[in-house]
């Protein structure tokens, strides 16, 4: 009797484990199923390279959204990575234990704040600030810059945590060896510790990029959601970041509720492109983490 129960339980547990795979399978199945008509009608390449998005007229170019996603991610990396790396090195190498007890939980709490709250803060505080600071005509404050700042803050905890772990994982032997040779602590960090933690740090950044690409609601609230290709507002090329834009994620969320038929299929197609993009990014991060561990 006991053996039967045991066998039955094993079976049930196995089925639970299969659930995840089942779900992934379903996700792929349904997203692709809805997206297929769009791909078949217009074709993958025209969708990826077209700049005009007017689904009601069968125009499905998502290049503007791809540009939007890439630009805002780039911006968040440029702003967020230096700060995150500084924080990671600080926590791993410089902060006294008391300070670490304060800063590390603060970083973790930053990770827990809901994205809508970041979006709200961005809307109410950042957007007007950006609008008033850069008085370029056409700058409403809802632009790539505001979105980059918000996104930088959102990916900061991810990068900081993983990079800090990577730096802490560098064997003490290396640090001691360097110090014993008369190097200063900073020299040790720059010339021994960071190079040794390189793959973990890169993985941290890539995971941050993945997170940035996937963010939806906070982006919608501050980026402007214009379907035009983002471009500089005047002769200064840097004003590119003052231009409105729309991300791939935003594209889906903004239109999905009222889209029907072909339009709806088009949004699923956007979803498929996004899914593939993020899977590639996350996959390479994981590979790097594994390779670093194998050393």
């Amino acid at each position: 009797m006991r053996k039967m129960v045991d066998a039955g339980v094993r079976y049930v547990l196995f089925l639970s484990a299969l659930a995840s795979v089942f779900i992934v399978f379903l996700i792929l199945l349904f997203t692709l199923r809805e997206a297929l008509p769009a791909f078949r009608e217009i074709g993958l390449v025209p969708i990826l390279t077209g700049t005009v998005w007017r689904p009601q007229q069968d125009q499905l170019g998502i290049l503007s959204m791809v540009a939007g996603s890439i630009l805002v991610t780039l911006g968040s990396v440029l702003l967020g990575v230096p700060l995150a790396m500084g924080g990671a090195i600080f926590l791993a190498e410089v902060a006294p234990p008391v300070v670490r007890e304060v800063v590390r939980p603060a970083v973790e709490l930053l990770a827990g704040i809901p994205s809508v709250v970041y979006g709200l803060f961005g809307m109410v505080v950042l957007v007007p600030a950006v609008r008033n600071t850069f008085s370029v005509p056409g700058n409403s404050g809802f632009n790539l810059l505001s979105a980059s700042i918000v996104l930088a803050v959102m990916v900061l905890p991810t990068i900081t945590n993983i990079a800090e772990d990577a730096i802490r994982a560098v064997p003490r032997d290396y640090k001691e060896g360097s110090l014993a040779l008369g190097a200063t602590r900073w020299q040790t960090i720059v010339r021994v510790t960071l190079p040794a933690a390189r793959s973990g740090i890169i993985a941290a950044i890539i995971l941050g990029v993945g997170r940035a690409l996937g963010e939806t609601m906070a982006m919608i609230m501050v980026i402007g959601n214009s379907i035009r290709m983002p471009g500089p507002l005047d002769s200064n090329p840097l004003t590119l970041f003052l231009s409105q834009a729309r991300t791939l994620t935003g594209n889906i969320a903004v239109e999905i509720k009222y889209a029907t038929g072909f339009h709806e299929d088009a949004l699923f197609a956007t979803g498929v492109v996004l899914f593939v993009l993020i899977m590639v990014v996350n996959g390479s991060a994981r590979l790097l983490i594994q390779r670093g561990g194998r050393k």
Partner: protein
């Protein structure tokens, strides 16, 4: 014991980890250009004592010291630790070459000190690798990763790395304990060569090694409260054939671990 030509000296030196006393009132003189071996049972503070001379104990939080430690009559604690480590180098128990090329490992010290000239670095690297008796084995592969070398070669590389900084003193913390007997012998021979130019202190748990390879020996012991103290110190041949203290004799003849 009093010596002429003393390089390092400690007077009533004690070290505490927080409230726990790890070393008690050590009075010792380390002669210049000779090999001093530090022996004693595990846990009696030999490594901690060794690390005093290049202030590697500073890396542990909560460490407190008492008494004097001097090099060439200058207090070690009043110097900048980075500067101290230019004069006092260290070789660790487990070889710890950096994950860089052989060349970059040896050049690390001089580079940290600001040597930029490629030719000068190459000369220093060759000289140090020869000094550690490993040049012939690696001279054609200076750009290969140091991690690809065998254990014994890695340890000699670490010695070369320490030599490149041009210290006066080399501290060795059981340098051969992680190596096979053949590699161990090579290291011991190397140390004999090095003592002509350097003052060497070597911690070892291997008494035969101390007896064979050193000029002077210091025997440390653990007291009942687990503090380490110096029992006896003198010329190696005298310590091993005619120790003054009974504990020393018991330890050397193996009557306790």
């Amino acid at each position: 014991m009093k010596f002429e030509d003393v390089k390092l000296e400690t007077k009533q030196y004690s070290l505490y980890y927080g409230d726990f006393q790890a070393l008690r009132n050590v009075d010792i003189q380390i002669p210049r250009n000779a090999i001093t071996a530090i022996i004693g049972p595990s846990g009696c503070g030999k490594s901690t004592f060794l690390r005093t001379f290049n202030r590697m104990n500073d890396l542990i939080s909560g460490v407190r010291v008492d008494g004097e430690v001097t090099i060439d009559n200058n207090s070690v604690f009043r110097m900048d630790p980075v500067e101290l480590r230019y004069c006092v180098g260290m070789v660790f128990q487990r070889p710890n070459p950096f994950p860089k090329s052989i060349f970059d490992n040896v050049a690390y010290g001089p580079r940290s000190q600001g040597v930029r000239d490629r030719a000068e670095l190459a000369e220093i690297v060759e000289r140090s690798l020869r000094g550690a008796v490993v040049w012939d084995e690696v001279k054609d592969e200076l750009n290969k990763s140091a991690l690809a070398l065998s254990g014994g070669q890695q340890q000699r590389l670490c010695i070369a790395r320490a030599l490149a900084v041009e210290p006066d003193v080399i501290l060795m913390d059981e340098p051969a304990s992680a190596l096979d007997p053949v590699a161990t012998l090579k290291i011991e021979e190397l140390i004999q060569q090095l003592k002509k130019e350097y003052t060497i202190i070597i911690v070892t748990h291997n008494m035969q090694q101390a007896a064979r390879a050193s000029d002077y020996t210091a025997f440390f012991m653990m007291a009942e409260d687990r503090a380490g103290y110096l029992v006896e110190h003198g010329r190696t041949d005298q310590i091993f054939t005619n120790p003054q203290e009974e504990i020393t004799e018991r330890y050397i003849t193996g009557r306790f671990g």
